[in-house]
């Protein structure tokens, strides 16, 4: 097939053979000079896993980073059989997170140290954050309810908004704000993490909806998204912030709807239950308070519901709230009309932040709570190997899988850098196939790995 003599001749119109070169000389030079990730970091174990891949806790072992803690996010590579990895094109989600994290730098956004491309995998090395809000909320609600103190609560909110304002000022929508994605460092500094769904929204070549049919985890999804908005604004992030504030107050998700799964081949399902949960607390939206309401694709679905009165104040009082400013702030974050909803910059000058206790830079400053550290899962320190069994880790995870919505399943993380234009249903089915093959293979994979190490 590859007779070099043949190729030295001029053969017009000939198709390139499979092994036609792309970058061999260059690759050899580069691979020879690359410092391996395992020479820079000692992996202690993994701390989280999902469809995107795994996050490992690691400690620096070179002089410059000695004993520093890191969280290394490894994007899953597509590997059918255990060892033979091949390149499949980087997913849109990974490209977004890499490019945005490299470009931005803010104290309330998780700090990227470096990105290592090695062994057909992508490793994003972040500074380690010991806690996240999901963990903190869980600790406050188990086994008995222990409310988060006012100073911490306000400081958390203020720092989230600082980070979010920064993102919005840089034309970036986060689109997946939820407690699990808000990290807290040992020193009590908020770090917004997981920019895998984030994107720039200036110079849109196509609508936001065309790019991603589904954004934001269902419980934190803004009403305009539930109504099928094609164009939406940074206000979707503010809605999620409102939901987070309510969750910090009551230690339960505010709108805990059931996600309607995709059934029809063509259409995105209408998230009836989620909208119902919202209306039960905020009342039924009217064209009066939300003038463009009847322009939304799913507007007609509202006829399904009975009329609900607004109950937010009652909800607030029932959850032990007494601070009028806090209630006012919450209600401004949860305004139905995205054009009226408070924006991130204005929200930071809300009256609530001017009243005692003032927000502080260490959210733990006035707290006596001792939160448990992240649990490290041993048994998979092989960061260079393929990410294999991420679907059976929930048994030893203190957070039940219910808390994690299936958003990650919707994100097209896999499959040839598949773009987001494709039918969601195809994706889900391919995800299902992957899942099935994982379930079939995972025990074998684990076994083989063990054997190989021995």
């Amino acid at each position: 097939m590859s007779n070099p003599q043949y190729w030295n001749g001029q053969q017009p119109g000939r198709m390139a053979p499979n092994n036609f070169f792309s970058l061999e000389p260059y690759r050899q030079r580069k691979d020879a000079s690359r410092v391996s990730i395992i020479e820079k970091y000692d992996v202690l174990g993994y701390i989280a896993a999902g469809t995107y891949g795994k996050v490992y806790k690691a400690v620096g072992k070179q002089h410059a980073n000695l004993n520093q803690l890191y969280a290394i996010k490894k994007f899953k590579s597509d590997s059918k059989d255990n060892q033979v990895l091949h390149y499949t094109g980087i997913s849109q989600s990974a490209i977004r997170e890499m490019s945005l994290c490299k470009e931005i730098n803010h104290q309330n956004i998780s700090t990227l140290k470096e990105i290592i491309l090695e062994n057909k995998s992508i490793y994003m090395v972040f500074e380690f954050a010991e806690y996240d809000l999901l963990q903190i909320i869980h600790y406050h609600s188990h086994p008995e309810i222990k409310p988060i103190n006012k100073s911490s609560l306000k400081s958390i909110m203020f720092q989230i908004l600082q980070g979010l304002t920064f993102l919005h000022e840089n034309w970036i929508l986060h689109r997946d704000l939820k407690p699990a994605n808000i990290m807290v460092t040992q020193n009590g500094v908020i770090k917004i993490g997981d920019l895998g769904l984030a994107r720039r929204f200036n110079n849109q070549l196509q609508t936001l909806y065309t790019g991603d049919k589904v954004v934001v985890t269902i419980w934190y999804r803004a009403p305009e998204l539930l109504l099928g908005a094609r164009h939406y604004t940074p206000a979707v992030d503010l809605w999620a912030v409102g939901c987070i504030l309510a969750e910090l107050l009551s230690l339960r998700p505010l709108f805990k709807g059931e996600e309607t799964k995709m059934d029809n081949k063509k259409h995105m399902p209408f998230q009836e239950n989620q909208l119902l949960k919202i209306m039960q607390i905020l009342g039924t939206p009217t064209v009066n308070e939300w003038p463009t309401l009847n322009k939304y694709p799913e507007y007609h679905q509202l006829q399904r519901f009975t009329m609900f009165p607004s109950n937010l104040k009652a909800w607030y009082t029932n959850n032990g709230g007494v601070d009028e400013d806090c209630l006012d702030f919450l209600s401004k974050l949860l305004i139905y009309d995205p054009n009226v909803r408070i924006n991130s910059l204005n929200s930071m000058s809300h009256e609530w932040f001017k009243q005692d206790p003032l927000p502080v830079s260490n959210i733990f400053a006035n707290s006596t709570m001792k939160y448990p550290k992240r649990r490290i899962h041993k048994g998979d320190n092989d960061i260079l190997g393929p990410v294999n069994n991420n679907n059976n880790n929930n048994n030893n995870n203190i957070y039940s899988n219910k808390r994690k919505t299936n958003l990650n399943n919707i994100q097209p993380n896999l499959n040839m850098g598949m773009n987001m234009n494709i039918n969601m249903n195809d994706l889900t089915s391919s995800q299902k196939r992957n899942f099935a093959s994982f379930m079939n293979n995972s025990s074998n994979i684990g076994f083989e790995n063990a054997k190989r190490r021995n």
């Binding site: 198709m15 390139a16 092994n19 499949t88 491309l117 790019g211």
Partner: protein
Amino acid sequence: MSADFWVSTQRSHWQFTKEQLSNARLSISTWEKQKFSNNAIIVRYDTNVRIYIHQMIAKLGRRLCLRQIILVTAEVYISRFLTKVSLIEVNFYMLITTAVYLACKICECPQHIRSVLSEARNCWPEFISIDFTKLAEFEFYLIEELNCFLILHHPYDSLIQLVKVLGSESSIEKSLSSNSKYRLNLTDKEIGHSWQIINDSYMTDLPLLYPPHIIAIASLHLVLILQLDLSDLDNTQISKTKSTRANSNGSNGSNTSANMNMNMNTNTNMNMNLNLNLNLNSNITKNNQPLISGLNIKLPSLDFNKQTTINDNKVKATNKKNISGQYGLRRKLSHTLRQRMTNSLSPEKFASSQMENSSNSNNNTSNIANGVNNSRIEAFSNFLAGSNVNLGQVMEAVQSLLYLYEEWQHYDEVAVRQSIKTLVMTISSITTNM
């Protein structure tokens, strides 16, 4: 940051000084000479090759129906990549394909890897293998070589801002720019031409050297001063596109020069005065702004000498020598302008040209239209003088652009394609032997 060039990684990590850039290129060529004794196959990364890259990106982009911003993003990736890697280390056509594939994702218009690959195979069947993992592999190495800095700032946004500040004729923009004190009334055509020049700027080092606003100003400057609003330029651009499309070999260059020569002849027939060379175009289009006088007005203010004496025809005699018949129009423009640049950039020469100014001022053949254009250029000059823009950089950018257009006269697509073919085939045979 992604909204502010001044704190962007483009500025902090991917903006070179001229010296750094030439050092980087020097070390590559040194490496090439050490590595390959066979000099015959080495392809120099010169303007010819860059025009070819530009056109190959456009070719693939047309097949995939991609937007311009994606294509220029890919082109910047390639420029950056080639400051670190020699062309003889990689498959030239795979590099183009990979850069386009990556740029699609960054611009939030992702294309499936297989469709990018199959269109690339349609474009260059001899050089692109059907194995998509090679494209995916190259993506890794491309990103690594770019240090994962993928978000770019382009001059197009700067141009839009400039238009808002300077004022335009378009009714949509008018409301935005009604408060503009400059009132340049830029026409859509002028804005369009600036846009095209920005497109062309990606074939130069400008995106590696200067902030985007410098490039935008330079292109607008070129349009205003030279009145590049020339229908014959449009023609050549069309003929270029056509010839690329039809893959007709080398007809490009000849077409272009044919056009130019024709124009030239008309010119000489119509005007004995070189100063009125461009009046040919004013007959075709509505704009009539003599080249030389425009230059006269512009350059003093660029030196922060707010000489507002207008309509002087400086140093006509020296121009006459350079603009003798055998050059194409584009080339003449470049010669003239560069002559003026070098003169005005050094103080002594500037002073002497001022003297000539006054002595020549009698020869003025100003007219009303001229006055209108001049006042616009004056307004533009005032704007630049009042801004904090680095005018030295603007001038260098203008020169780079003119150099590009000059080189384009000698562009030989067949030769470039052939030498790249030889290169890729040779390297391929070496690597498959290994």
